[in-house]
């Protein structure tokens, strides 16, 4: 190719290159969060030298983290795209209920061996299919009708919960086959299978968001949907992918939750919904979209889990944990605000 043309093309794509570099760039604002995490772990280790800095505590934390973690990932992707998905817990519960129904009501109780594997695979596939349908419907409503995602997902959340409650009459289904329970009970090299699953998925989502065209486009529509559309990106397709991905993550969360609680119901884990937003924002996801990284979210989840475990070992009420989470979020926001205005003042002088 003619070098002049190539140079011209490069000049034309330079802003995009810069954007992609910024999205891929090393996490700059995760440093502060890591510092906070280290400070908290140090504080709890000082207060609880006998119980906190122990492998068992770490393992307990790894058992508890995955379900909130997976749901937070399901929330973070729509947030980065400038939207939100309020239906994540509802989706996870409904997928869980469908799988639980197949495994408890349809499957004969004394199945074993290959037949059991087949039943399990069938149940998982049914849950997967349901979450795909929910994700597609949500995505199409957001993309085509041009309605704000808060409203769409408020509607789908109410609708999905409505169906779950209608079909179960508020009951829970429990008693699942052994192999499923293992996900949240068995450990490999000291780490629970559910935690390993979560880490692998988190890395996958990180790669998707930072290294793949879809991820870059998700960031772009989060910054400016119209500009992205005018630059030739099929924004509707991206939006549908966002809610499809979110819904798929809910399906994985549903499997982990089934394994951990050994039950499925319409009301399980409803309090997680707002906590996932809290975790994502704490992790540096911009509530207005366009920015946020999975590394930050992961550190934020570790911070929340460290507080929860530390308070638990100090025999403080779980309610105080929730209050402290809220305070931490406000404090981090306040620090960000003051450093931003401090920087702005020093740049101008």
């Amino acid at each position: 190719m003619n070098p002049d043309i190539r140079r011209g093309a490069r000049a034309f794509t330079a802003p995009l290159d810069r954007l992609i570099a910024a999205i891929r760039g090393t996490a700059t604002n995760v440093g502060g969060l890591l510092l906070l995490l280290v400070a908290l772990v140090g504080l709890f280790s000082l207060l609880l030298p006998e119980t906190f800095p122990r492998p068992t505590t770490l393992q307990a934390m790894m058992f508890q983290l995955p379900e909130l973690g997976l749901l937070s990932l399901a929330m973070a992707i729509p947030l980065i795209s400038g939207g939100i998905n309020l239906a994540i817990v509802a989706t996870a519960n409904q997928a869980g209920l469908l799988m639980a129904w197949i495994l408890t009501a349809l499957m004969p109780p004394d199945v074993g061996g290959p037949a059991l594997a087949l039943w399990l695979a069938g149940a998982l596939a049914a849950g997967l299919l349901l979450s795909i349908v929910i994700g597609l419907i949500t995505g199409v409503l957001v993309a085509v009708m041009g309605v704000h995602p808060i409203l769409v997902t408020l509607g789908t959340m109410t609708l999905i919960n409505g169906f779950s409650i209608y079909f179960t009459r508020g009951r829970t289904l429990s008693g699942f086959p052994e192999p499923l329970i293992l996900i949240s009970n068995e450990t490999i090299l000291g780490a629970p299978i559910s935690f390993i699953l979560f880490v692998i998925i988190a890395i996958g989502i990180h790669v998707l968001l930072t290294r793949m065209p879809l991820g870059i486009r998700i960031h772009m529509i989060g910054s400016n949907l119209e500009a992205t559309r005018y630059s030739g990106v099929d924004t509707r397709r991206v939006l549908v992918s966002v809610y499809l991905l979110s819904s798929l993550l809910c399906w994985v969360a549903a499997i982990v939750m089934m394994a951990r609680f050994n039950s499925a119901g319409a009301d399980i884990a409803q309090s997680y919904l707002l906590i996932t937003i809290l975790a994502a924002i704490l992790g540096g996801v911009d509530p207005y979209g366009g920015f946020g990284r999975i590394v930050g979210l992961f550190v934020a989840l570790c911070i929340l889990q460290a507080i929860s475990s530390g308070f638990n070992l100090l025999s403080l009420s779980p309610n105080l944990t929730l209050a402290f989470w809220g305070l931490i979020l406000l404090a981090v926001m306040g620090i960000k605000r003051t450093t931003a205005s401090w920087r702005a003042r020093h740049r101008s002088t």
């Binding site: 704000h148 409203l151 109410t158 609708l159 409505g162 009459r169 509530p287 926001m333 605000r337």
Partner: protein, 332 residues
């Protein structure tokens, strides 16, 4: 020229009214018990707490913000009033005033944090909601207060009327409070200076600030007003169920938000009317009652609300989109 369909569906209020008439016609045709006066009064009373809260949320939405801490605020205010009334024998007015004052204080905290941290109000109120609620449960241990004084738990009937068929229509305290709140909110939003400032702030915050509107002042008013109404709603809720339960209203946040949005308030702010909110509540109440009378399981109601929200928001969203496109075409 606007087509007839656009004239009807362009405004949320007219669309809601049309749906209400349609639902009323279908249900009264299907069940003779529907649309009796006593039935209507019961319906309205059942939705009184939701309407009072929705009025406050509506004001916040018009200003361009969102608040989801009001359920925690209402619970805290209710508990505080119940506590001073039972443990210290506070009479009616001081107890209610204390509840409303706590509501205003907690609401103002939201306003201050939103203003000074420059963070989306939904984030601030998620955080404060966690804090308010967690502290409430921590300090109360989640225990209920059953022995409310008589002035609080006795049913107050302002107006009683026996119809020819023997049904009794009661206009009770919750209905009256709800009506007063709706009227005051309507007056406030459409006839006062602060109301117009709230619309201006929601429509375009930058412009509102340039023409000299005190943004912090308006935000303090808006969130304080929701807190005040949360205090009243907490009082009415305890009046209806004869006890103060710290967890009674938690989980209602998104339902109330849904009602305000069904009534035509948008998340971008600057739009909406109190009449629309009342119509939205009316539609939900009628759907719930009509389906009950038709023998549809009450478990099915969540599905109906979900559909109602999706249909109404899709309709307004689609109408807005078409209107925008037309503006673009005209400009060219």
């Amino acid at each position: 020229m606007r087509s007839l369909a656009e004239a009807i569906f362009g405004r949320t209020e007219t669309a809601l009214a049309a749906f209400i008439l349609l639902a009323a016609a279908v249900f009264s045709f299907a069940s003779p018990y529907f649309l009796t006066l006593s039935n209507a009064a019961d319906l309205v009373e059942a939705y009184s707490v939701t309407t009072i809260l929705a009025a406050g949320v509506f004001v916040v939405l018009v200003s361009g913000g969102i608040d989801i801490s009001f359920a925690a605020t209402a619970s805290a205010a209710q508990y505080l009033a119940a506590y001073v009334a039972t443990s210290y024998g506070f009479p009616a007015l001081p107890s209610i005033a204390l509840a409303c004052m706590l509501g205003i204080v907690l609401g103002s905290v939201n306003a201050l944090l939103t203003y000074y941290l420059r963070v989306a109000s939904i984030i601030v109120t998620i955080a404060t909601s966690s804090i308010y609620y967690a502290l409430l449960i921590y300090f109360t241990d989640g225990t209920e207060i059953y022995n409310l004084p008589d002035w609080w738990s006795d049913r107050i009937v302002f107006f009683r009327y026996a119809t020819n068929s023997g049904d009794i229509v009661r206009i009770t305290l919750p209905i009256v409070i709800m009506a007063v709140v709706a009227l005051v909110t309507r007056f406030l939003m459409s006839r006062t200076r602060i109301g117009r400032q709230i619309y201006a702030l929601g429509g375009n915050p930058e412009a509102a600030s340039r023409i000299g509107i005190n943004i912090l002042g308006v935000q303090l008013f808006v969130y304080g007003y929701l807190g005040f109404l949360a205090g009243i709603a907490g009082f009415v809720q305890a009046h209806r169920v004869h006890q103060a339960v710290p967890t009674a209203m938690v989980g209602q946040e998104l339902n109330v938000l849904a009602v305000a949005i069904l009534g035509g308030a948008t998340l971008s702010g600057g739009v909406g009317s109190m009449g629309g909110v009342v119509l939205g509540v009316l539609l939900l109440a009628m759907l719930q009652n009509g389906l009950n009378l038709l023998g549809v399981s009450s478990y099915f109601f969540g599905v109906v609300i979900g559909l109602a929200i999706l249909v109404s928001t899709s309709m307004t969203g689609y109408a807005e989109k078409r209107m925008r496109r037309r503006h673009v075409l005209k400009a060219n």
